[in-house]
Symmetry: C2
Subunit: 624 residues, 2 copies
């Protein structure tokens, strides 16, 4: 079989592959991470790459995603394009996996350190059969060998596993693979399998978001990400945001439907991931979930009712390690589920994951993390101290609560710009527009205010001559995509009330950042880097986010968009016992400032209900 | 209400009780332990006591158990006799609880030591409700309070318990009781209950014997034994001894029927114990089981198949702590089951319990433990070393494998004696004889050989004129109870083949003792005390056991019959974390000598197939 070399740009990373594998597979092999929302089915258009050297066959589905021009320039879908030549492939920013920036960095660093071990290890053991001189019990024989290989002194074992041990050992000629995990207090043998299955050790990193649930399948031996799948959170039918879902769960509806919805979500993702990677879900021995405190409670079936009410008390911050069978997850039933620890009722495991992922708790210099979702959570600190807070931002940035809002998937308008006086937009997958996602809404507000279509107070200048300006029951709105351009035949619009909501949302996030920075007595300029995370998809226009007053006005090179850092943090923990312990440490050492009891926040919030802010001196770079 | 004083002899222990309580209840209050096989129903006759001072009402059921003479002498059933006067009550040896001797001693010693804590503790917590200044998570609030009370740093918790925590705390005004247990690696919160239930903390000590299963209900707060119940092991239908049951379990029958049988056994006992003590079985939070290695495997559902085959390997020696729900036991489903650790395939947790109970591992001087059942197990040692071995003795001493053998229950002939040339016997409960139990069989062999009815080789002297000598197909036998005396109308006899079996059984036990003593290079005279344990009921005639060559010929004051030490050991562990840890230490430090691979044992065995022994110098006190 012929082999070819593929060079990936801008990673500048090359890999040798057999003829006929896809560009996506080659990228995975090269540790270059490309979007794969549809799991390689060629239907989402998220894995667009440009072949700049070498010849590729035109592929069937490309026409649906690319213009003639793009096709001429060598754009193809990585998952559909087979390799029959040496290639140079450019990965455009929008095709990089949401959390690629951090992931590639960390995942690459990990294997260097021999102490870094995944949460579940699989150890192949060739045991000497018992003799009259050496007739210790079966479990002691296994423990003795594990002691030699891993050095730990003692091993706990579940009854279930022990019940099959005798047969497992004798049926397999004393050659077995033990799955071993650490829990809070010691080491535990989870499972015994026939023969050497140590290379079939998979884990799942899951971001349990309020709006979306995203899961990554990770090969714990090679540390490769084998796939990522995302889906709407099925809990949406019980309420858009965590508050309404808590009301449902704590009222007549009960907790169970909420718990089952998220389990079904994950099981659906596992099914797709396992099918695409051609693995048995039973070989998934560990799942690490990151979510806000309420979502973590729903996942584990914990009552969230006191989270909602002053003084906002969760059942737990640090969650127990749970066998997968107790939750009914589609994976090894004896495998383990770890949930990233929370800090408080409104600062959850997703933020802990983010702090872990961006590495701010490892460095001397002070950094900040801004996670923008239904809540805006802020964490600031370094390797010596960490403080955080949370403010309710509403669902606008996640595509909820606005007329045409949607999450960052195919058909979402993610970019809006006036070019020579004409409004232009781009949609995800280049599809006909279906709505506007978070990044599109930020662009939209910026374009409207900077072109004088709305004022600094967010009100429409209804006297303008603009054929996109429209009225519904005398309430002004603005057409972003006209009816004839959209998938549904209905125009995509932004209304005055949408703009009100967005200003409240951005005001809450900024007020939280400002309050926290003031609280610790620092200025924005003393914070080395601001990491911005959130469900904006692959794209967030930082200058525009500054210009509408969502994030502080500091030099752009000190702001880094890190996408879904909740997922990245979960994967880091999957791959490293030490990272998980670090997450527990972060959750325990972070100080939460309860903004609902903090008067300066209220003042900051009111001051921030303006574009960019009532105090323009805070945004010197803003010119509109 | 009037109160009366009851003085118990020979304990010389008096107690004040309210009018109308039974003598059995008064005895329990006084820490005087009386047999209670039927659970106070007045049907087993095992709680016979003699009222020597004070007046008692004659009771209905007494006629079934006592002769006119006995009634005149003040004999009554303790469980049926109410107290309406100051009394002096003599407990005859046969009415003492099987393991009373050690139990009273140890159970009394325990409360002195404040460090001694039961395996499960129940701690009442009055928590301060959360405030804005103190809004830590619910589980952290509990852990903080437990830290203050118990000093341990961290507490694990099951998901099940955590799922109910929020509601449990708020519904009960922050006043709850936590059940806390230690496992191998740390401390765990098992259960949260409303209000103060710390005084309702019960445990179960279970002796899982091959022939019988006996359970004691223990109040872990007061350390009182609330009841004891025994029953035939339901596994008997799958085979009389462990070998035939293993063959069943490892053949077509499968493990499950054996596992379920012992669970049903225990559940039946729990039901009776809970009913009699008027407690909810859900308040039993811990069960400690002691049994031989095979029985322990059956209890936990572990495959015992390799125990039976050379090189005799069990699945486990030290068993995991298991939640009760995983075994389906009738108790708190979140409660824990601890199984006393084994030493080897044929030296089980029952022997470890015995070593623990007799205290030999705590003392400088060397002692021996002889446990006589289907196997004879011997342990010798002190606080520095312990060795043990096991020999298959056959079921004769437990009432199996002989024509009229039965276990030590009502109607069993437990004593046989020639008085002025006439054979006299006594049965348990003074009932019409149904068969002969182990102690009766030992008496029987002794009487037959010492009166020349059988020779030192065990063969009948068929030329004797004795109307009890009979023949069945030319095989001689001897009538112990004539047909007209028995319950069934069939005579109770001992056959030549029974005597053969008994000589093999006693030969195996003695050979094991002798081999082990020789192995460690000591003489019998260097062993301070021999503790003899076994299912003989309340009675074993030591001089006769010596005279037939079952146990070594040493002064009687150095031999102590300790009854069911397996049960005593289990109860000690129930009452003391330290005792359980000691049991694990004993199991790990005891050296097992595999007699099937030890030639001197075979020689000793052949030499012991004689009454008392081929080498009479080993039994200088024997005069027949």
């Amino acid at each position: 079989m012929k082999t070819f070399t593929v060079l990936f740009i801008p990673d500048n990373r090359s890999v040798q592959v057999d003829e006929g594998v896809t560009i996506a597979e080659a990228a995975a092999k090269a540790d270059v991470f490309i979007n794969n929302l549809c799991g390689g089915e060629g239907v989402c258009g998220q894995c667009k790459v440009q072949v700049t050297k070498g010849r590729v066959e035109p592929e069937e589905r490309a026409g649906a995603f690319f213009s003639e021009e793009e096709l001429d320039e060598g754009f193809v879908l990585a998952c559909q394009t087979e390799i029959h030549d040496d290639l140079e492939v450019v990965i455009p920013p929008e095709s990089r996996l949401e959390d690629a920036q951090i992931m590639t960095e960390e995942a690459r660093a990990l294997p260097q350190d021999p102490k870094v071990t995944p949460l579940v290890r699989k150890i192949f053991l060739e045991l000497s059969p018992p003799t009259a001189e050496d007739n210790i019990s079966d479990i002691e024989r296994i423990s003795r060998e594990l002691r030699k290989k891993l050095g730990w002194h003692s091993y706990d074992i579940s009854l279930h596993c022990l019940q099959h041990l005798s047969t497992d050992l004798r049926d397999n000629d004393w050659k077995i693979t033990a799955s071993v995990a650490k829990d809070r207090n010691g080491y535990r043998i989870l499972k015994i399998e026939a023969g050497d299955t140590s290379h079939r050790n998979y884990g799942l990193a899951v971001d349990v978001g309020t709006t979306t649930v995203v899961a990554q399948l990770v090969d714990l031996t090679s540390r490769e990400v084998l796939g990522v799948e995302g889906t709407h959170n099925r809990q949406a039918r019980f309420g858009e945001d965590v508050i309404s879902r808590m009301i449902y769960a704590c009222g007549k509806g009960g907790l169970n439907p909420l718990h089952e919805a998220v389990v079904e979500n994950i099981n659906g993702l596992v099914e797709a991931l396992a099918r695409n990677a051609d693995i048995d879900p039973k070989q998934i021995h560990v799942l690490v979930a990151a979510g806000n405190t309420t979502m973590s409670h729903f996942l584990l079936g914990l009552t969230p009712c006191s989270i909602r009410l002053d003084p906002y008390v969760p059942t737990a911050d640090v969650y127990p390690q749970v066998p997968a069978r107790e939750i009914g997850l589609l994976m090894d039933p004896e495998g383990i589920v770890e949930t990233l620890p929370s800090v408080a009722s409104y600062v959850g495991g997703d933020i802990v994951a983010g702090v872990l992922a961006c590495g701010m708790a490892d460095r001397d210099e002070v950094s900040g993390l801004i996670d923008i979702g239904t809540n805006g959570e802020i964490a600031i600190g370094n390797n010596e101290w960490l403080v955080c807070c949370s403010a309710s931002a509403g669902p606008a940035f996640e595509g909820g609560g606005t007329r045409c809002g949607m999450r960052a998937t195919r058909g979402a308008i993610e970019k809006i710009e006036f070019v020579e006086g004409q409004l232009r937009y781009e949609t995800i997958g280049n599809a006909a527009p279906r709505g506007i996602c978070g990044s599109g809404l930020i662009d939209c507000i910026y374009e409207l205010v900077s072109h004088g279509i709305i004022g600094a107070d967010g009100k429409f200048r209804t006297d303008l001559e603009d054929d996109r300006l429209c009225f519904e029951d005398d309430i002004p709105c603005y057409v972003i995509a006209r009816a004839q351009e959209t998938e549904t035949g209905e125009p995509v619009v932004i209304t005055a009330s949408d703009i009100d909501n967005l200003i409240k949302s951005k005001g809450a996030v900024f007020a939280a950042i400002k309050s926290l920075v003031d609280y610790i007595g620092l200025g924005f300029d003393q914070i080395e880097t601001f990491y911005v995370a959130g469900g904006f998809g692959s794209y967030l226009n930082i200058p525009k986010a500054i210009a509408i007053g969502l994030i502080p006005d500091i030099p752009q090179d000190r702001i880094q968009f890190i996408g879904n850092s909740s997922l990245t943090g979960a994967r880091l923990c999957l791959l490293s016992e030490e990272a998980f312990e670090k997450a527990v440490y972060i959750s325990r050492s972070m100080t939460n400032i309860e903004l609902s009891h903090y008067q300066p926040f209220m003042d900051e919030y009111v001051a921030a209900l303006f574009l960019p802010h009532t105090n323009r001196r805070l945004f010197p770079s803003v010119t509109y």
